[in-house]
Amino acid sequence: MGGKFLFDGRPVPFEEGQTILQAARAAGHYIPHLCWHPDFPPHGSCKLCVVKVGGRHVSSCALPARDGMEVESNTPEINGERRALLQMLFVEGNHFCPSCEKSGNCQLQALAYELDMSSARFAHFYPDRPVDASHPDVLLDFNRCIFCELCVRASRDVDHKGVFALTGRGIRKHLVVNAESGRLADTDFAVSDRAADICPVGVILRKRVGFAVPIGERKYDEASISSVAMEKGE
């Protein structure tokens, strides 16, 4: 049984089983997200897709739409909270956009522009996260990891390899690979894996193609993340 809900005051139809985010997208309304991906079940960790329903904050990627819901999304209050979540993601890792190969193709960077994030606000953590350049075709730069687990999920559920996993807890949580040595080269990871091109930020980078497209001419340099998402379905 589907129905209709109000999204920022506008009616949005939905089908049974659709989440708020899915139904809103289908109706042409963008909700920011990082850990959500159209090809995967909802994960609900980044919280960028937070919306208010009946005064309560919920993850729109995970909550099934219900008839008559009133959803607030693109409001100063919610966008302010999203901006703070982005600031948190920036300060907990080491994100240095000007030298990052992913600049212009990075969803974290693009969302920061989208939501007018002009400073990091909080004190940086400067964590020590060595890179893993062992694999012949791919570089892992853990400094940029936002723990969306898309690589974990893609490798486990699509590639059926289980190359990636998270260990540690809390702020010490970190990505590891499936090898006693801890090196990507010692796993069965391949550049053709689904997990190789799923990272929304700059952790999993292909070697030898860096900066082939100059910064300034990349996906989110040309158009905002909301229009890319809505027009190209990405």
Binding site: H57, M88, G168
Partner: protein, 597 residues
């Protein structure tokens, strides 16, 4: 290292190569080796046919699992504010000095490591430590001195004075639960006479609500599980009593285990479950032997196993799973993940455990006290149970009372009792603050002592920590913030980063470098944690800060050096590397931030 692999393989075989037993396998492997070497993790992964990274992920999640070597004696000081008030910090320094080891480090010969851990549930008999996972209570300077020499002499724990491991119940006030003699099987017999439906109706009449904190109506939970599709239902007892300052479940497990297991069996009678699991927090591992003995007694008496009390079709048995130091596993969906041998990350809800719980099966998760209380309902009937307490909070509540009072321990009161009444009973002179419900609970100031312990006024899972006029509410809040930052599972952004940031702000204030803008940032973080967190840990983490900022604001304001901005970046600390490299530590190699003002 071959030895390590052999020990790991034996643990896997003991658990019949069952991946859902991964946490138990890791605990037992570590028991045999002392820690979890990389080769042991590889072996476990191979035998369970799991990706090694997943095994590493689980091993890295739990505080009591170590992927690096630790001391042969591993001494962990309970770091709750109550233990601190009893002098833990000084005792820990003294022990470290005697053993010539720094906190968090392993001694050069690998004999000993000393560190802190989250509240071990001994607030009424602290200061407390865990030595190789076993609780040692009532620490004082003499005991520390003796422990240091036992460690230096390499005396096995079995030869340490038994007195050190004594854990008292300290039951100070008995009500209907703690006051009654219990005949094992009597409650079960009474419920079986009523039939499964009739029994559930009594539970509904009783108005019983969950004692673990959330206060969900037990009968509604049981009915939903009973009605959920799937014949393989499960009853889980949540004995992961991790809330700082709480220990009443420990006392129930020690002195009323029959009641707890009978309550689980009563839940099985209502829901049709055939499997029961008790999740015991790692800190209470010393109770494992006792609990297993009680289970054996009950099996022998026909109160567990096939055809309970001769009833055809009533088959139910209980297994005990051991936790390994993770407060978040008290959240019921994280607990289920942990029971399945995974990282204790809370699940997305819906679906709820009553329909999709342990291994996807319909599951009832109840707190220890809740289950024990169901025996009273079976024996007295639902209406009699509902006659005590208040209309919305029926029955009695166990409180774990600790802190600045003459008689810390466990007290049973009818719901509705005032905080003032409790304070008088426990001998609290000059109480300034009461923290009800633990770190995630409510901070109660003097002018609110007339308020009542009840779901509709001051709800609590049982903790009741008393602070007198000497104590600083800011330091209490800071201790709790550190606790949450340590215990955040790290799944969602607001809790993972927010608790770490909050800790940074509270430490900045504590070091006398705070500015007014920090208070604004703290309030902003509080709101974000409350609104956007994935589970109750994140949304309740700011509670002590929110409450103390409102009720004890001067405790914060007197720590401010400036009314505007002070950077969190410490210029002097940033010079540390340069100082180390040049071997200098003279005044000229330091920047005094005070001089900059």
């Amino acid at each position: 290292m071959q030895d390590a692999e052999r020990i790991a393989a034996q643990a896997v075989e003991r658990h019949r190569r069952e991946p859902s037993q991964l946490l138990q396998i890791l605990v037992e492997t570590q028991d045999g080796i002392g820690y979890l070497p990389a080769a042991a993790l590889t072996r476990i992964a191979d035998l369970l046919e799991l990706p090694r990274a997943r095994v590493e992920g689980v091993a890295g999640f739990y505080s009591f699992l170590y992927t690096e070597p630790v001391g042969r004696y591993r001494i962990l000081f309970s770091d709750n504010i109550i233990d601190r008030m009893l002098g833990t910090r000084g005792l820990m320094e003294s022990l470290c000095r005697r053993l010539e080891v720094s906190p968090g480090q392993v001694s050069p010969g690998g004999e000993v490591s000393v560190d802190v851990t989250s509240c071990t549930g001994m607030g009424d008999q602290g200061p407390a430590v865990l030595v190789n996972g076993l609780a040692v209570t009532r620490l004082d300077e003499a005991r520390v001195e003796r422990i240091a020499s036992l460690v230096r002499a390499g005396t096995p724990l079995a030869e340490w004075p038994a007195e050190y491991f004594r854990v008292d119940d300290n039951i100070r006030r008995r009500g209907s639960l703690l006051g009654d003699d219990f005949v094992p099987g009597a409650a079960l017999q009474a419920a079986m006479v009523r039939g499964r439906t009739g029994w559930l109706e009594e539970v509904r009449l009783s108005g019983l609500r969950g004692r673990g904190g959330a206060g969900f109506t037990t009968a509604v939970k049981w009915m939903a599980c009973r009605d959920a599709p799937g014949a393989d239902k499960v009853v889980v007892c949540n004995a992961d009593e991790g809330e700082p300052g709480t220990f009443k479940d420990r006392v129930l497990l020690a002195s009323q285990a029959e009641r707890v297991f009978e309550g689980m069996t009563l839940a099985a009678w209502a829901t049709g479950a055939r499997q029961g699991l008790l999740y015991l927090r790692g800190e209470y591992r010393y109770l494992l032997k006792h609990l297993r003995a009680v289970l054996a007694l009950r099996r022998a008496a026909g109160l567990l196993g096939p055809r309970i009390l001769g009833e055809a079709g009533f088959d139910f048995d209980i297994d005990i799973h051991l936790g390994a130091g993770a407060y978040v596993c008290g959240e019921e969906t994280a607990l289920l993940e942990s029971l399945e041998g995974k990282r204790g990350t809370p699940r997305i809800r819906p679906p709820f455990p009553v329909t999709h719980g342990y291994l996807g099966r319909p599951t009832v998760v109840n707190n220890v006290e809740t289950l024990a209380k169901t025996t009273l309902i079976a024996l007295q009937g639902g209406a009699a149970f509902a006659a005590t307490g208040t209309p919305q909070s029926t029955g009695t509540k166990l409180l774990s009372i600790s802190g600045d009072c003459a008689y810390p321990g466990v007290y049973e009161y009818p719901f509705g009792v005032t905080i003032a009444h409790v304070l008088e009973d426990c001998g609290a002179h000059d109480p300034q603050v009461v923290q009800v419900g633990g770190a995630s609970g409510v901070t109660i100031a003097g002018h609110e002592f007339h308020r009542r312990i009840a779901f509709e006024d001051v709800p609590t899972a049982g903790a009741f920590m008393v602070f007198d006029g000497r104590r600083d509410p800011f330091e209490m809040a800071r201790n709790f913030v550190h606790f949450f930052a340590h215990e955040s599972c790290g799944f969602c952004t607001p809790c993972r980063v927010g608790t770490a940031l909050l800790k940074g702000y509270m430490d900045k204030l504590a070091s006398g470098k705070g500015a007014k803008m920090d208070l604004a940032d703290i309030e902003w973080l509080d709101r974000l944690l409350k609104n956007a967190s994935h589970c109750g840990l994140g949304s309740s983490a700011p509670n002590p800060v929110i409450d103390t900022l409102i009720k004890f604001r001067p405790a914060y304001e007197r720590r401010l050096v400036s009314l505007d901005f002070k950077p969190a970046f410490d210029l002097d600390a940033a010079l540390e590397t340069a100082r180390r490299m040049t071997g200098r530590d003279d005044p000229g190699a330091h920047l005094d931030w005070r001089e900059e003002v």
